[in-house]
């Protein structure tokens, strides 16, 4: 992480948003240092997208202050929008136009100097691995290609701050890795500051710092490593049918707190490798379909700090 200078690139203080009389963001504050990758981690409905919409000017906050390079700005003000690149969860390119046409329109929208436009488009098509699809209509591209084009479009004007809403949702593991490789390259080459929302612990782990967001409030802001250090021990997961019954057996025999998953249960214990044989022997042969152990992930940290899971399905081991 870069050394902390005195003035953050973006600072959000006391942001509150009400939607139909329901408080969806409450007193949210965080600051982004130039060049850092900052993640907002939380489950669906935690307020991540609301924060995203306030910063991009789509929603108006009830209260709060936003500063860009120390200067107060109205959220979504033109001066802020000029510096912003935005990657939406839903497509924001025109699927009836070609990749090149979409990038050209984005360049004109942001008034990229005419002499630089074609060069920038060439570079970004290369970054997005879309050089050979440049003149194909977007609707003929695969989902992953479209996501890459979205990223390229958001970078056409070399924004100081790139805001991404769930940038890797729906991507397979290979595309996920490639996306993060690109973001890291971008940060290294252009010094772009990144703010992203995510509910994926493996994505959050790649950020420099994270804000954990739960029910519209920030619960913790720290580096992933520091957050992970807040949960000691190992997470042991037992997979099998009828997870409620599995949970009951473990609670009765071992007096351990158990978390129920879709296809099993998990528990946090010290020296997990010693627990595994005891747990397996507590069940008849064939009752468990799989057993595994892992160091606590950010999903476990989130659960410990908020009492809520990041997702409804079981996390990857």
């Amino acid at each position: 992480m870069p050394a902390e200078p005195a003035v953050p690139l973006l600072e959000v203080r006391g942001l509150s948003v009400e939607f139909k009389k329901r408080r969806v963001l409450e007193d949210v504050s965080f600051a982004l240092q130039p060049g850092e990758i900052f993640g907002l981690l939380g489950p669906n409905g935690s307020g991540k997208s609301t924060t995203f919409h306030v910063l991009t000017g789509v929603l108006r906050p009830r209260a709060g202050e936003v500063r860009f390079e120390g200067q107060p700005v109205v959220p979504g003000a033109r001066v802020l929008r000029r510096q912003l690149g935005v990657v939406f969860q839903a497509a924001s390119v025109d699927i009836n136009l070609t990749c090149r046409e979409n990038l050209r329109l984005a360049a004109r929208l942001h008034r990229v100097p005419g002499a630089e436009v074609e060069g920038r488009i060439r570079d970004l098509l290369a970054l997005a691995d879309l050089t050979d699809r440049a003149d194909d209509r977007v609707k003929t591209l695969s989902g992953g290609m479209k996501r890459r084009l979205e990223l390229a479009r958001s970078l056409i004007h070399r924004p100081r701050l790139l805001i991404l809403d769930e940038p890797t949702v729906g991507l397979d593991e290979v595309s996920f890795d490639r996306t993060w490789q690109r973001l890291a390259e971008l940060r290294a080459r252009e010094g772009t500051t990144l703010l992203l929302t995510t509910h994926r612990p493996e994505e959050a782990a790649r950020c420099d710092r994270l804000a954990l967001l739960d029910q519209g409030r920030i619960i913790a802001v720290d580096t992933p490593a520091n957050l992970q250090a807040r949960v000691s021990g190992d997470v042991v997961t037992l997979h099998g049918e009828r997870p409620d019954e599995l949970a009951e057996v473990v609670r009765e025999r071992f007096a351990q707190e158990v978390r129920r998953l879709d296809d099993g249960i998990s528990l946090v214990v010290e020296r997990g490798h010693e627990w595994i044989p005891r747990l397996v022997e507590a069940f008849p042969s064939g009752r468990l379909t799989a057993v595994n152990m892992h160091r606590p992930s950010l999903a476990d940290v989130f659960l410990k700090l908020t009492g809520h899971t990041l997702f409804d399905v079981s996390p990857p081991a």
Partner: protein, 262 residues
């Protein structure tokens, strides 16, 4: 020129060009957009031709009377179908990225209205090639006046459609407004039949309908010396003034809507 104005002009240009580009990219859309009014004109015009008698000018057949109405219908339909896409586009489409871009929201209204309006004008221009078949001669048409009315009308209807799309924010609601306001509005614009003293209620509705002044102006420009020309507002300038007022109102409502409701 200030930076803000340059941002706004860039936004207007991008939205304008994007709608035209999309239209040119879909040749089937062009064919469909032309075929439908031609079919309308031939079927309704042909069917009514033998029974319709225009008191002021008995030699004017329905094919000729109906022609300016079809031109306006093309502009209206283009504005409806061009702006209904705003509903989806603002939440999950190209418009999202424009709304978070450096331009103002007013520039979004103007750019989108110009884009949609231009598509309607291209279609109307193509249909105007058929004017001689309706009994109008190219040499007699007051092209300048025609262009002024069509451009103003296209902008007004597109901006009106934009306001509807933004405020309803639902395709179903937009369709409902289209069926109970926009389409009856076109029927009651003088496009299909002239206002008559025998039906004072209809006549007042027609007078209160901004689309009537567009139809009236287009009819006058197509047939400047013809007997069908009966300017609703008394003169070309009067019709144009009413239409400009409608355009200003539509752009105003759209701009208010886009700032007010996010």
């Amino acid at each position: 020129m200030s930076l803000a104005l340059r941002d706004d002009l860039a936004t207007v240009r991008v939205l304008w060009w994007r709608d035209l580009l999309r239209f040119l990219r879909q040749p089937t859309r062009l064919v469909g957009a032309l075929a439908q009014p031609v079919v309308f004109w031939l079927l309704i015009g042909g069917g009514m031709d033998s029974t319709f008698r225009y008191g002021a000018a008995p030699d004017v057949g329905y094919m000729q009377y109906f022609y300016p109405g079809i031109v306006v219908m093309m502009v209206l339909f283009a504005s409806i179908f061009g702006t209904i896409t705003v509903i989806e586009d603002r939440h999950a489409g190209f418009l999202q990225s424009v709304l978070v871009g450096p331009g103002s929201r007013a520039a979004v209204v103007v750019g989108k209205s110009l884009g949609v309006g231009s598509v309607g004008l291209v279609q109307a221009a193509a249909f105007l090639c058929l004017a001689p078949f309706a009994g109008f001669t190219y040499g007699q048409i007051d092209w300048l006046t025609l262009a002024v009315f069509l451009v103003t009308g296209a902008l007004a209807l597109s901006a009106f459609g934009f306001a509807l799309a933004w405020l309803t924010d639902s395709s179903q609601a937009y369709h409902a407004v289209m069926s109970i306001v926009l389409l009856p509005g076109w029927v009651l614009s003088g496009a299909m039949f002239p206002p008559s003293d025998d039906h004072p209620v209809l006549q007042s509705l027609m007078r209160g309908n901004p689309m009537s002044y567009l139809v009236s102006g287009v009819r006058g420009a197509l047939h400047p010396t013809g007997a069908t020309t009966h300017h609703l507002a008394g003169s070309t300038a009067g019709d144009l003034a009413a239409l400009v007022a409608f355009a200003v109102f539509s752009v105003g409502v759209s701009t208010y809507a886009i700032y007010r409701k996010r």
